[in-house]
Symmetry: C2
Subunit: 341 residues, 2 copies
């Protein structure tokens, strides 16, 4: 009942193969027949069967997306819709479709990836969750299957194509910004050290302090889950220190929102009593009280470049630049001020 290439061929009085060529925009086909065929396709409302095409051509025009375990709280982060937009845009430009996988456990995820890779459902994969000892990465590398990682790989940095920010520099600059505004008691609030972002940013933080000859204090460094309660306690402790920080760098806007609340509860005013610079610059940053000075890491572009590179890998089968760095930019709002003497 579905109309195939043969029906079109019959109507246009040509061979099926000719129709196929017209679809593929094969150059050596006469204008005349091309028109004739196109008209027939139009008339019949023909649409190619993608499964048949994929089977014959040994390639789908599809990229696979691997999301983090859906259990993760990170999932709630506006980060994801935004990268997705970027990826989608890059894919769309090259007429690629998107296949998406999630899973509650790491095993589920690996299984899903295996199915879609071996099942030949996709030509390449984008990973949104760079974890320590990532099985998916090992698997993909082992099969030499095209993939790009958003974020920084925990190892084999030289071999894995990835798109990332220069988190070291971004955090260094953010810290320097505070130093330039007269702060010297600056604390760091970041997520789990298992995430490479956290490590990079912490290093950038430390470097900035060292450059400015400001001594590092362990009590000024806090690691908590990006979201939720854990952080609250930590902030409370931090603020009850004898020598309380006058400024905070926070690794994520969402987290900063939590910090903001805690501070409010403690009766500490931002930016009067304490300054805050946070990261990501999602919509939230401009809606908080006060609006957050935040480092824009260009989430959309992270996704966009990822899909561009992946498609390039797939099509040219020549590796693109292994490492793609997306620019960042400090967006000043109202959460910073000079420290009180």
């Amino acid at each position: 009942m579905t109309i195939t290439i043969k029906d079109v061929a019959k109507l246009a009085n040509v061979a099926p193969s000719t129709v196929s060529r017209v679809i593929a925009n094969n150059p050596r086909i006469s204008k005349a027949t091309a028109q004739k065929v196109k008209k027939a396709m139009e008339q019949l409302g023909y649409h190619p069967n993608l499964n048949a095409r994929n089977l014959a051509s040994q390639s789908t025009q599809t990229i696979g997306l691997v999301m983090p375990s859906s259990g993760d709280v990170v999932f709630q982060n506006p980060f994801f819709p935004t990268v997705l937009q970027g990826i989608s845009e890059g894919a769309h430009e090259k007429q690629y479709a998107m296949h998406i996988t999630t899973g509650k456990t790491d095993k589920e995820i690996l299984d899903a990836v295996t199915r879609m890779v071996q099942g030949k459902s996709v030509d390449g994969v984008i990973l949104l969750n760079s974890k320590v000892e990532d099985q998916v990465i090992s698997y993909l590398k082992g099969r030499e299957f095209p993939f790009v990682l958003i974020g920084k790989p925990y190892k084999d940095v030289e071999e894995i194509t990835h798109v990332d920010n220069d988190n070291f520099r971004a955090m260094k600059e953010a810290t320097e910004y505070l130093i330039q505004h007269g702060h010297s008691q600056i604390a760091f609030i970041g997520g789990s050290l298992e995430l490479t972002v956290t490590v990079e940013r912490l290093l950038g933080f430390e470097r900035a302090l060292r450059n400015a000859k400001i001594p590092l204090k362990n009590e000024y460094i806090i690691h908590e889950e990006f979201l939720r309660e854990g952080g609250q306690e930590a902030v409370r402790e931090l603020m009850s220190l004898e020598e309380r920080p006058t400024a905070l760098v926070v690794a994520d806007d969402f987290m900063a929102l939590g910090v903001l609340n805690m501070l409010d509860e403690l009766g500490i005013k931002v930016p009067e009593d304490i300054s805050i610079v946070s990261f990501n610059n999602v919509l939230l940053a401009e809606m908080s009280k006060p609006p957050l000075t935040s480092v824009d890491i260009n989430i959309f572009d992270l996704g966009y470049q990822a899909s561009k590179s992946l498609i390039q890998m797939i099509e040219n089968s020549k590796e693109p630049t292994k490492r793609i760095i997306i620019a960042h930019k400090l967006v000043e709002r109202l959460s910073c001020a000079e420290p009180i003497k």
Copy 2:
């Protein structure tokens, strides 16, 4: 070079069709050969080619997801990651994969849907954006292609399978909650009237007031884009009314955050000077200042039920219940209090 069903057959000393049967768990196959074949598959690391399977069986085990135009600000709403989780879970349980489409314009979206439907890439579709005069819906209905809508259709409510909240009742209850707490000057802040949710909620709001014999005031009803600036102005106007409201119902947590800020700027305290009930109960609601009393609409379940129903439609080809209502629940936090006399 890829290993096929034939390789497995050869190794197991059976016919390809036998292998196929084993994969399909065909009952009439001897335990013995089943084991033999499975072992061979294991040994060779066999994975079925999904394209070939789809082509032969005329069915993919895949559901399509249609996201709203990526240009929309709504996209930033944590709503989406969460429905996606729900959908994914439902799909996973039945071993379905997910194909996702976005687009910047309505036309792009329609094209993408057409390609994936006619291209036989999916067995059914879930729509995440019920718009007025939705072309995608018309298209899908026209082809009698299985689909379910998350939200309420703008028309043909009886014919379109959809999963939704009882937004009328939810808002009615939220309003009654405020009335019970002694409020009678209650304002409504909602999104565009083109969204059926808004309409439903507005009606629920009005009904609650009418039931309580509280006169409706036009100045107390505001429609603005769910997010961003538009709302700010509106709130300012609202609060400068001679008879200022003592309570607000807001259609979305994100929006409520903006309202909260505006109120703060105006020096109006929540909940002392004004109470707020908002909707959706995303993570944000518990992180704002003060934490928001919000109606939990069970976003995850919205997605979960949607995929369950869709798969049922696909497999039984008998229509499931046309209308599936997900329960809601008011979650009390700290944004409400008795009005000051």
